[in-house]
Structures are given as structure tokens and as C-alpha cells.
């Protein structure tokens, strides 16, 4: 087995010395799994901890497992060699950033000693503790961590199936969908309408649709000034609503119109070919560009593993993020039921660390530590105007509670709003460094 090169000197080499000292008395057995490294697996593998999903939750969990237990055998399963983040993809849609600037690779995780396998996870058998992979091989686990993100509920809105998404993109998973929607926006005729449909709760990234509307409006104001943005919403309230609406008035004038559930905003049918939607009370809206953000559920591997409940999301133990339905499977990120924590990349990263600590504790026969999480969601209304919601979450009486938090002040001045844009950029650099170890 190839010896891993751990990047951090200092602390980690002290840990290594310590492990050698502990030697036979160690409660953390130094089993090396027999594994072939490099290239697609052509024979079955095993690992003490298998992580499925290399996004904010999974990549963070894999990194922190290795940081805190450098000799632990950790394998990460992720089909993409390059991960595009949904956070800041709205800036790509507005022409403010490139796709490359929101891309992250797995080189530094590999340097840390995580075995990264670029294939899909197709099935999980918790009895044999095996994950079946898309390349035809299987991998056995002692502990499994799933961070599968979301999958779209196809046909939850009549007419919105996978084929429809090629004409009316959701762009709610970043990558090709982002590129597709960006091309459509660039090709819009001046004077057209960008229609965005927003779903009922719960869904990935509660402020996301409204930031998207804001930044598309910004792009239109510069390049297609007679164009408008229409948001058709399946609900009456949304994240940071007061701040968004004030911000829209302040910088976008009447370019953005929002129609809530009570105003006949709920979309019940999509005709992607015609770029038309029909709302609950029979109104037809025709779009130049139609962006459907549809109802969602946990990524499919969660269903296969048996960790989802009837809601389609994953209930977890709030202290450890272990599945309440299947032992030794931990789940983090958007797929989980972790309210009041939102479904955000920030929260997924925080949950990944808590689950990593809980897994190490479990492997050592220790009680888990008391967890805590933070979340901060920045939204840009235009390149000079940013808003945020931030909170800290703790366990109280066995449940996750918000122990502090709030949104940006409603009466903040222009300097404050610009500062939050700058901090959003700083946040993005920090969280992506913390998750994948790359700088942007």
C-alpha cells in the first residue's frame, strides 16, 4: 500500500509519533485494508470508512476523518473528477464568475491520504456492509457516510421530467445545467422574461432562487435592459424575504416581480418545449428563459441504503448524524432532516465534521462529544449589495436548536452591504479550502 504523504507537518507528525508510542495498547487498530490504489478498481475493495459523495458534506468528512485519524483507511466515492459548487453558481449565471472559478478537484484530499474513486455508488447492502459501484466493483465498509445531496422529484410538477430539464433547466445541481442555463440567458432577446419557479419547503438552499433572480436581473440591467424577471413561488414566505424585497426596490426597481402562493404563484404544469407554465388557478405564463427549481428529495443512494423515511429525506440522530433507521450509516448534508439547520453547503460541511468525530469515537468505543454547528448564508443582490443570515446550532433536550442567529440589519448602509459582498467572497475561499483544500 502506498504510504500517504500528509501535507501538514507539525501537528500531524506529532500524532503519528503518538500512535507509534501507543502501539499495541492503542484502541485504534492500525489495520491497513488490502487495497489496490490508482485507476479504476477491477477487484473488490474494503475500507474502514467509506464516504459516498464528494461535495461539501462528504469531502469535508473524508478530510476531517484523515486529519484526526491519519492511519484510518478512508475511501471517498465521487463520480466527478471536478466538483462544481452550487454556491456562487448564480454568479456564473450573471457573468460575474467563470465555471473554472467554482470548480474543485480532489488532489489535496488524495495528498492527505484519502483514496478517491471516481465512480458512482449504485446500491448499499447494510447486511453485508457493501456498496456496489458503477464500475462493477464492490466496496465493503465498517462505517458508511452518505452525503448524496439531492435528487429532483421528476414529474412532481406535471410535465417536468428529465427531458424537460434540457430545455427548461433547473441548474440546481451545478455543472452542465449551469452552463445550459447561462447560454440560454445570454441568448435571450431584449424585452423577454426570465421566469423562475420556486418550490415549497424543504429544498436545497432556501435563499438560492432569490439570489438567482437578483443576479439575473443585474445581468439583464446591463445587457438586456428591457427584460424582466418573474418569480412564481409555491409558498408565501422565503428566506431573508424582507431584505431581498428591500434590496430589489433599492437596486432593481421594478425589474423583479415575485408572485407567492396566495397570489397564484404555484406552478402545476410545465411545457418545456413551449417554455410555458400553468399555475394553480389556470394562469399561463410564457417565458423567454424558463428556470424550474422543482421539488426535491434525498439523493437516490439514500433510498437504496434504506435510510430515507416516507418524506424522502433522511432522519438522523442529532448528536452523531447516524441514521436512525440503519446502524453504522451516517448521513450529512442536504439529504438529511436536520431542521432548523438549513440545507446549505455550510451546514453540510459542519455536519461532515460532527459525523467524522462521531465515527472516530464509535470506532474507538468512546462516547460521542457534544456537537455544535454554525451556518452563514450570503446572498448577493448585485455586485455591491450583499445580505446574510447566520446562526449557531446546539443540542437542547436531545434536539437541534438555534442558540443564536439573525439576518443582516434592514437599515444597513451601502458600506455594510458592500462589506457583506466582500465577506461572501472570503467565505467562499475559506469554505472551499476547508472542504477540498483548494484555493479560489
Amino acid at each position: 500500500m502506498t504510504k500517504s504523504n500528509i501535507k501538514n507537518q507539525g501537528l500531524n507528525s506529532s500524532r503519528r509519533d503518538l500512535l507509534k508510542l501507543m502501539g499495541a495498547a492503542s484502541a485504534l487498530p492500525l489495520l491497513g485494508a488490502c487495497s489496490s490504489l490508482g485507476g479504476p478498481a477491477s477487484k473488490d475493495l474494503s475500507a474502514r470508512v467509506v464516504v459516498v459523495g464528494g461535495g461539501f458534506g462528504g469531502a469535508t468528512a473524508a478530510k476531517y476523518l484523515k486529519r484526526n485519524a491519519p492511519d484510518l483507511d478512508v475511501t471517498l466515492i465521487e463520480p466527478n473528477k471536478v466538483f462544481y459548487t452550487c454556491p456562487f453558481s448564480n454568479l456564473v449565471l450573471a457573468g460575474m464568475r467563470t465555471m473554472d472559478s467554482i470548480s474543485h478537484n480532489y488532489n489535496e484530499l488524495r495528498e492527505l491520504g484519502v483514496r478517491v474513486v471516481h465512480t458512482t455508488a449504485q446500491d448499499v447492502d447494510p447486511v453485508s456492509r457493501t456498496v456496489s459501484l458503477g464500475d462493477g466493483s464492490n466496496i465493503r465498509y465498517e462505517k458508511l457516510l452518505l452525503s448524496p445531496g439531492i435528487d429532483i422529484r421528476w414529474n412532481a410538477i406535471e410535465g417536468y421530467d428529465q427531458a424537460a430539464a434540457e430545455q427548461a433547466p433547473h441548474a440546481w445541481k451545478a455543472g452542465d445545467q449551469t452552463r445550459l442555463l447561462r447560454r440560454q440567458i445570454e441568448a435571450m432577446d431584449d424585452g423577454g422574461v426570465f421566469v423562475l419557479t420556486a418550490p415549497a419547503n424543504p429544498f436545497r438552499c432556501p435563499p438560492g432562487p432569490y439570489e438567482r433572480a437578483s443576479l439575473v436581473a443585474h445581468y439583464l440591467s446591463q445587457h438586456k435592459p428591457r427584460s424582466k424577471v418573474l418569480i412564481l413561488d409555491a409558498k408565501d414566505n422565503f428566506s431573508k424575504q424582507g431584505l431581498f424585497m428591500q434590496g430589489w426596490k433599492d437596486v432593481h426597481g421594478d425589474r423583479i416581480e415575485w408572485v407567492g402562493l396566495s397570489g397564484d404563484g404555484k406552478v402545476v404544469r410545465v411545457d418545456a418545449g413551449k417554455r410555458e407554465v400553468e399555475t394553480e388557478f389556470g394562469t399561463i405564463h410564457k417565458a423567454s428563459v424558463l428556470n424550474v427549481v422543482p421539488p426535491q428529495k434525498a439523493g437516490f443512494i439514500a433510498d437504496r441504503a434504506g435510510v430515507t423515511n416516507e418524506s424522502g429525506w433522511v432522519p438522523v440522530d442529532p448528536v452523531t448524524f447516524e441514521s436512525t433507521q440503519v446502524k453504522d450509516i451516517y448521513v450529512v448534508g442536504d439529504a438529511t432532516i436536520a431542521a432548523p439547520m438549513p440545507k446549505s453547503g455550510f451546514a453540510a460541511n459542519a455536519q461532515g465534521k460532527v459525523a467524522a468525530a462521531a465515527i472516530i469515537a464509535a470506532l474507538e468505543g468512546q462516547r460521542p462529544l457534544e456537537p455544535s454547528w454554525a451556518n452563514t448564508c450570503y446572498s448577493l443582490i448585485n455586485p455591491e449589495y450583499g445580505i446574510s443570515v447566520a446562526a449557531v446550532y446546539r443540542i437542547q433536550e436531545g434536539l437541534i436548536h438555534e442558540s443564536s442567529g439573525g439576518v443582516s440589519p434592514s437599515d444597513a448602509n451601502a458600506t455594510f452591504r458592500k462589506l457583506e459582498v466582500d465577506y461572501a467572497s472570503g467565505w467562499y475561499s475559506a469554505i472551499t479550502q476547508d472542504t477540498w483544500g483548494t484555493r479560489r
Binding site: 503518538l18 484502541a27 484526526n68 474507538e364 446574510s388 455594510f416 475559506a430
Partner: protein, 107 residues
């Protein structure tokens, strides 16, 4: 160095009967500190528009965190909302933790 070993030891959570309470506390603080990385980088080392917090003097960090939590200063944006989520003792422990991490890495 002794403190660093203690912290390392605690982070590994070995099942040795002589493990002192403050090593368990150190592990608890490390977990509490984990969310700070989301804006300040892993180990609080990332320097940029959001400042690095690693290796700054403990008293400076503690004073800053207390100001975020207890004063009504509007100079800060997000930190007052975050600092209020922790007890004063936890903030002091976090200040100690980050002051010991090592030198910050510049962009």
C-alpha cells in the same frame, strides 16, 4: 509542545484510563472550533478579507470575541450573531485553542 501533545492526544480520544478531564475538554473545544474554519479556513489559518485567527494572542482573540458577543458595536457584520451562540467560557476556550495552532499561511 506539551500542550500540543495534550491536544493531539485528546483529538485522538484514546481509551486510556489515565485520560484527564481537560484532555476531553480539549477535544470538545476542537469540535466546537470546527465551524470556524468555514470562514477562517482550516485551523483558522486562511488570511484574506476575513482575517486569519490562528496563532493570534489569546487575550486579543478573547477580547474580540467578547466584544462581538456583548457590545452593540455595528462595525461587525456576522460575528455578533455567531458569538452569541456560545457561552463566555466557550469563547475563552476557543481563543486559547486558536492562539496555539501555529502560524497563519498567507494567500
Amino acid at each position: 509542545m506539551k500542550t500540543r501533545f495534550a491536544l493531539t492526544f485528546a483529538l485522538l480520544l484514546p481509551a486510556l484510563p489515565a485520560l484527564a478531564d481537560d484532555q476531553a475538554n480539549a477535544a470538545q473545544t476542537a469540535l466546537l472550533a470546527a465551524s470556524c474554519a468555514n470562514c477562517h479556513g482550516t485551523d483558522g489559518k486562511l488570511a484574506g478579507v476575513i482575517p486569519a485567527i490562528a496563532n493570534r494572542p489569546a487575550t486579543a482573540l478573547e477580547n474580540q470575541l467578547m466584544e462581538f458577543k456583548h457590545s452593540d458595536s455595528t462595525r461587525a457584520t456576522v460575528m455578533p450573531r455567531i458569538a452569541k451562540g456560545y457561552s463566555d467560557d466557550e469563547l475563552k476556550a476557543l481563543a486559547q485553542y486558536f492562539s496555539r495552532i501555529g502560524s497563519a499561511q498567507q494567500r
